[in-house]
């Protein structure tokens, strides 16, 4: 006979009460596990799918003086003391310590051109890289399609060297449609497609093949900017910016965190909501444990009196009550972990608008049990003290 056996046998006897206790703990632990798993999955998804939010690092040539800007970044053409970004800079980007975190590198050149006797901005891009990085770009119309045939995904298209893509505003301004021809700086191009309207300044741009535009602008091998999509869960983008600044002294590296920030802010809000909700649920669970244990102690007054009379110290009585709490909490913690994961997997995609599923969060099993045990023990301290301090004479109604 041991204190453990006494506690265990009592739990076996009071099955319904203990089941109620376990349910209280399961609800508390499951809520925490589910919310934690969802937030963790959201953060992982942010890392895995950041390319959907576009570039988060922009490298422009280092320069001095007055500069014109496009898209919030500098166009160095009219600056002085301009240092150049060239083909040689591209491999350096992958060579930084966090180079594994670099997803897509999209160099581009931007220049003012004369198109059909009008001034326009022409952007030379590697179309596959550019439109993989910016999936919100899509074709509204495409040349050479049979009636009823759908336009293709821009990120998968090879756009011919003698072709251009036009933003919706640009197409309207030039009065051209897919299949028409345009003269840009004296060279003839075919309009390959017109982009869907984005409502941004990009609607007024023309896009062409990177190498062709470099030649057209008389700047072969030169870039106006390099956009980089980089992210990892354990290194902040600022760290990547610092590393890129080290390897590219000729460039000015800027972090564009807006897209990630919006998502991070959403996650942070969800996380704060989760913490608040968890706190409330855990408080309720603690109250369930407290009332159930108090009621159990009240029912066992006489029994505790017997323990005290036959030589159990107050500490031994407390041990019995707290051991019961720990045993119940281990069960509650394990079941809560399983339920929390199931709920996270089932409800996560709806609650957090994630396109990927929530994975099984196996590393949460030990914290779940510890949380349940801590909650259960904390809520059982008062009942245990009450039991230990019971007057044995009163308990046995000796007088």
């Amino acid at each position: 006979m041991s204190i453990f056996q006494i506690a265990f046998n009592n739990l076996k006897r009071r099955k319904i009460k203990m089941a109620f206790l376990v349910v209280g703990l399961v609800v508390g632990v499951a809520t925490v596990v589910a919310l934690f798993s969802i937030v963790q999955a959201m953060r992982l998804e942010l890392g895995d799918r950041l390319d959907e939010f576009g570039a988060n690092v922009v490298i422009t040539p280092r320069s001095e003086g007055m500069e014109l800007s496009y898209g919030g970044t500098q166009v160095s053409e009219v600056s002085f003391n301009v240092q150049l970004l060239t083909e040689e800079d591209l491999p350096k980007i992958r060579e930084i310590p966090d180079g594994d975190s670099v997803n897509i590198i999209s160099p581009k050149i931007v220049g003012a051109v004369m198109a059909d006797d009008q001034n326009a901005l022409l952007v030379g891009v590697d179309t596959k890289r550019e439109f993989t990085m910016k999936p919100w770009f899509s074709l509204r119309e495409q040349a050479g399609l049979a009636p009823g045939q759908k336009v293709r995904d821009l990120a998968l298209l090879d756009i011919p060297e003698d072709s251009l893509l036009l933003g919706s505003s640009a197409a309207r301004a030039f009065g051209v449609a897919p299949g028409d021809t345009m003269t840009v700086n004296g060279r003839e191009f075919r309009v390959f497609g017109v982009l869907n309207e984005l409502g941004t300044e990009e609607d007024g741009l023309m896009y062409g093949n990177l190498l062709v535009v470099q030649g057209l602008l008389g700047r072969p091998g030169e870039f106006s900017m390099i956009e980089v999509s980089a992210y990892c869960n354990f290194c902040p983008v600022e760290e990547i910016v610092a590393q890129l600044t080290d390897v590219l002294p000729n460039g000015r590296v800027t972090a564009l965190r807006q897209a990630a920030l919006v998502r991070e802010e959403t996650i942070d809000r969800f996380s704060s909501f989760g913490i608040a909700l968890s706190g409330v649920v855990l408080l309720i669970a603690a109250l369930v444990v407290l009332t159930t244990m108090l009621s159990s102690v009240n029912e066992r007054t006489r029994e505790i009196g017997i323990f005290r009379a036959i030589g159990f110290r107050q500490m031994h009585v407390m041990q019995i009550i707290l051991l019961e709490a720990v045993m119940v909490s281990v069960l509650g913690g394990i079941i809560g972990f399983v339920v929390g994961n199931v709920v996270a997997r089932a409800a996560g995609p709806f609650l957090a608008q994630m396109s990927v599923g929530v994975p099984w969060n196996t590393e949460m099993i030990l914290p779940s049990v510890i949380l349940a045990a801590a909650l259960s023990v904390a809520a059982s301290i008062y009942p245990a003290l009450k039991a230990a301090r019971l007057d044995p004479v009163e308990a046995l109604r000796f007088i």
């Binding site: 204190i3 006494i6 029994e303 017997i306 030589g311 110290r313 004479v393 007088i399």
Partner: protein, 238 residues
């Protein structure tokens, strides 16, 4: 003359009941010797159970002193007193007071729970005393699977399993039929003849026949009225 095991000196106990102060004990002084069996009789409210609880280290007296085996019981801390109860005392309560979810064996092992004996030793000690009280074949039964007499035997086995020098019994036959009560008293008599000191509170004059000495309590005091003692002696003889 054998040694004094219990010595009380002018024990008084007052407590409040519905705002009134009640004197449960009014200066009880007595000596009980090692190996004695003593019955305490008296009417309800005479203070006999209060005396038993004070001697049992469960209920501090308002004034006065009690020594068991030379140890001033209430000079000990509460926790040391718990240790003292475990080492020196065995309790047999009214209505058995067994733990319902433990078997006879487990109930008997309860006082050994917090001792340093190994699990095997505890089991052997419990088996020994259960056999001693005639329950060798019923060790794994729960209390509700046993008769009243058997439960009383389990309670006695629990009281003596740690081999205390003193057993305190409060109305041990109160909830038993006459024949079973006699069997239990015979068991107490046997244990006393083996050297165990027994102090028993009882209403039943028949129980006093197998006890060595009887103390009568009245209004919180030991009765010194010769007529009353004579009346009891007459009832005993019948």
């Amino acid at each position: 003359m054998s040694e004094v095991l219990i010595k009380t000196d002018n024990l008084r106990k007052t407590y409040k009941s519905f705002g009134d102060e009640v004197e449960a004990l009014r200066g009880v002084s007595l000596e009980i010797y090692k190996g004695e069996s003593v019955a305490v009789m008296g009417q309800s409210g005479s203070g006999k159970s209060t005396l038993l609880s004070i001697i049992g280290g469960l209920n501090p007296p308002s004034t006065g002193k009690i020594e068991i085996d030379g140890i001033d019981l209430y000079a000990l801390s509460q926790e040391k007193r718990a240790d003292f109860r475990r080492e020196y005392l065995g309790f047999v309560f009214q209505q058995f007071q067994l733990i319902p979810y433990l078997t006879a064996m487990e109930n008997v092992m309860l006082p050994l729970t917090t001792t340093s004996h190994s699990g095997r030793q505890k089991r052997e000690m419990a088996e020994h005393v259960l056999a001693r009280v005639g329950l060798a074949g019923k060790m794994n039964r729960l209390p509700n699977q046993m008769s009243g007499g058997e439960q009383e035997r389990v309670a006695i086995a629990r009281a003596i399993v740690n081999e205390p020098p003193l057993v305190l019994a409060d109305e041990p036959t109160g909830s038993l039929d006459t024949r079973t009560g006699e069997e239990i008293m015979a068991l107490f008599h046997e244990l006393n003849s083996e050297g165990l000191t027994i102090l028993m509170v009882t209403h039943n004059p028949e129980n006093t026949t197998s006890m060595g000495r009887t103390i009568i309590m009245k209004d919180g005091q030991l009765c010194t009225d010769k007529a009353e003692i004579l009346q009891l002696a007459t009832r005993k003889a019948r």
